[in-house]
């Protein structure tokens, strides 16, 4: 009976191809959207944790990576953690604190996250204090020179970018980025002073001072990165910092990727919609294909019945044909996804992971949509009156 299904598929090559394409469309949608989300999240989260600093010190309350004013935390915490708080006679409210002994260095970072079109892409910019930033990370300038302090006219509108950004983006002059190129950051032109490696946090970094100016002038940052002296236990240091400076969020850097992929924007909802839509597309395509098939082959169904084929067998035959089309559509979808991934990654800055989870979901959705879509036509065929079916013209 597979020979019957195969023969039928060959009989109508165009319809078979169109049905396959329909199923593959759903599969591609799921695989690429899932892969894009995963790729972008993994990439961003990876860069968030791709620093030597073991501890991140964030403002209290719920941890969020999207805030309208990203600079919520006093930048002075960095100095306080390293050097302690000295008694200030002019301000008796300040409680003196000793330095946290295990800490080697700390740096304040401003981070601005801008949701891109479609909620999938997002742009990030870091404001850093290069002098202390280089002490808590392994940043290396591979082209040009380090970022200035931003305190003067000359360096205020300077930026450094990572190599990926430099290779994948054009400057405002629409030419590949080199040292001296102008790029747009926070709606302002910045001059690229250097290219750094490895990628960490945002791909574009400007002086923290400049970012503070742009956001109202206060000496604030988004978080402080803390680097420990060799072999100091992270948990113990976190306890100490919490002790000295309660009411903030102090977390190990290693936990950031997990935090990052939790409820990133509305992406989860969007993905559910995509998955549902894909199932509906596959289902409808197969429904239509099988419906025309059984109408066209009404007489053949009559013949099957005259040969004593049970309803179940007729449903099986039609479902098998649908499953065959769906399976071919899924395979086609995988191939198209691989091609799509290649062209997306080579023409945009987006990163798509062909991830086993989304391949599985895509394949499952394609198959399930097809099999469910074929069910109604199959039942209709099985319930045809044999004599009427045989006299169908």
């Amino acid at each position: 009976m597979d020979s019957l299904s195969v023969a039928n598929l060959k009989q109508r090559p165009l319809r078979t191809a169109v049905s396959m394409a329909g199923v593959s469309l759903g599969v591609v949608l799921v695989v690429l959207m899932g892969g894009l989300t995963r790729g972008m999240t993994r990439d961003a989260a990876g860069r968030q944790s791709n620093v030597d600093a073991e501890i991140r010190f964030l403002p209290g309350g719920e941890i969020s990576i999207t805030t309208s004013n990203p600079l919520m935390l006093s930048a002075r915490y960095a100095g306080a953690i390293v050097n302690g708080v000295k008694p200030a006679p002019e301000n008796p409210g300040v409680e003196p604190k000793p330095p946290v002994a295990a800490v080697a260095a700390a740096t304040p970072v401003g981070q601005y996250v801008q949701t891109g079109a479609g909620a999938i892409g997002f742009e990030m910019v870091d404001g850093i204090d290069y002098a202390s930033f280089k002490d808590v990370t392994s940043i290396k300038i591979v082209q040009g020179r380090p970022l200035g302090s931003g305190g003067d006219e000359q360096t205020a509108h300077e930026a450094i970018v990572d190599r990926f950004y430099a290779e994948k983006n054009l400057g405002l002059d629409n030419k590949p980025i080199r040292i001296g190129s102008k790029i747009k950051v926070l709606d302002q032109p910045f001059t690229v002073a250097g290219v750094y490696e490895p990628p960490m946090l945002a791909r574009v970094k400007i002086p923290l001072k400049t970012m503070q100016e742009l956001f109202g002038g206060a000496d604030n940052c988004s978080f402080v990165m803390v680097k420990l002296k060799d072999r100091e236990p992270v948990d113990r240091v976190i306890e100490t910092i919490n002790d000295y400076y309660p009411g903030n969020n102090v977390i190990p850097t290693s936990e950031i990727p997990a935090l990052y992929s939790q409820g990133l924007f509305a992406v989860d909802v969007l993905l559910d919609v995509v998955v549902g839509l894909s199932a509906v597309i596959s289902g409808l395509v197969i429904l239509l294909a099988m419906f025309t098939t059984i109408t066209e082959r009404t007489r053949e169904i009559g013949i099957l019945k005259s040969l004593g084929a049970s309803k179940r067998l007729i449903v099986t035959i039609i479902e098998r044909e649908a499953a065959l089309i769906s399976a071919m559509g899924v395979v086609l979808g995988f191939v198209l996804s691989a091609i799509g991934r290649y062209s997306i990654q080579s023409s945009t800055r987006l990163i798509v992971d062909l991830d086993i989870k989304w391949l599985l979901i895509g394949g499952l959705i394609g198959m399930a949509g097809g099999v469910i879509g074929a069910f109604y036509p199959a039942i209709r065929a099985a319930n045809l009156d044999p004599v009427e079916a045989l006299s169908y013209e």
Binding site: M1, S3, L4, A7, N8, K10, Q11, R299, E300, G302, I303, L304, K305, S306, L307, G308, A309, S310, K311, L313, P386, V387, L390
Partner: protein, 245 residues
């Protein structure tokens, strides 16, 4: 043409098809069409009968009921010892699978499958499994029907006569208790008709295949053991058995 019986042995104790006062009324809009008005007929194992009668007298209706494709309005139907009257739709399908082979005027082969593919499909439905069927039996039947060299042809690559021979092969490949043929030569020229009638005759002679054949053609009817005459949903004469020359 009809000669008295030279005893070809029918076991009248072994009835393959028995109908008792079969009635069939179609409802078309508000009009009742009485297609069968009380048909009582017996066909013995190994018998080859022809049913004749004008168009619209209920021949096909009778055949469809006998094959379990249609439920009569009233009356009884017994096939090979099984009372079909009270059977469910699924049970009648099952009976058809095990005991009936149909041959139609329009051949009704699967157009996408080769001659062999058509036979194998019938075998698989019969066996409810994906085995190779019965190659030996298939070969004997194909030889008798002179189809050995047409096995890999699709229906459209075959003449009408050849298609009908494939259809007959498909109907008998599982050795059904009863073959029901509805005007099997209706779409064939006289030459091909003769070949097909020879085949049916041969199947009856060599395998003892029980056959009920509807025909308009008196010459075709003459090849059967017995001719049943129908008119207006009734049997006029159930015929007298005779032998074919």
């Amino acid at each position: 043409m009809k000669r008295p019986v030279q005893p070809k042995f029918f076991n009248y104790m072994s009835t393959i098809l028995e109908t008792v006062d079969l009635k069939m009324t179609y409802r078309v809009g508000k009009v009742d069409v009485h297609a069968l008005r009380g048909v009582t007929l017996n066909v013995a194992r190994g018998e080859y009968i022809a049913i004749m009668g004008p168009s619209g007298c209920g021949k096909s209706t009778l055949l469809h009921i006998a094959g379990g494709m249609l439920t009569p309005t009233s009356g009884r139907l017994i096939i090979d010892g099984e009372d079909v009257t009270a059977m469910s739709d699924a049970q009648r399908t099952e009976l058809r699978r095990r005991k009936i082979g149909f041959v139609f005027q329009r051949f009704n082969l699967f157009p996408t499958l080769s001659a062999e593919g058509n036979l194998k499909l019938a075998e698989r439905i019969y066996a409810r499994a994906k085995n190779g069927g019965n190659p030996e039996g298939r070969r004997r039947i194909l030889k008798l029907l002179k189809l050995e060299d047409k096995l890999h042809h699709k229906p459209l690559e075959l003449s009408g006569g050849e298609q009908q021979r494939v259809a007959i092969a498909r109907a008998v490949v599982n050795r059904p208790a009863l073959v029901l043929a509805d005007e099997p030569t209706g779409n064939l020229d006289s030459e091909n008709s003769k070949v097909v009638l020879d085949m049916l005759r041969g199947l009856n002679n060599e395998f003892g295949q029980t056959i009920v054949m509807i025909t308009h053609n008196p010459e075709a009817a003459a090849r059967a053991d017995r001719v049943v005459e129908m008119r207006d949903g009734l049997i006029l004469s159930a015929g007298v058995p005779h032998t074919d020359s």
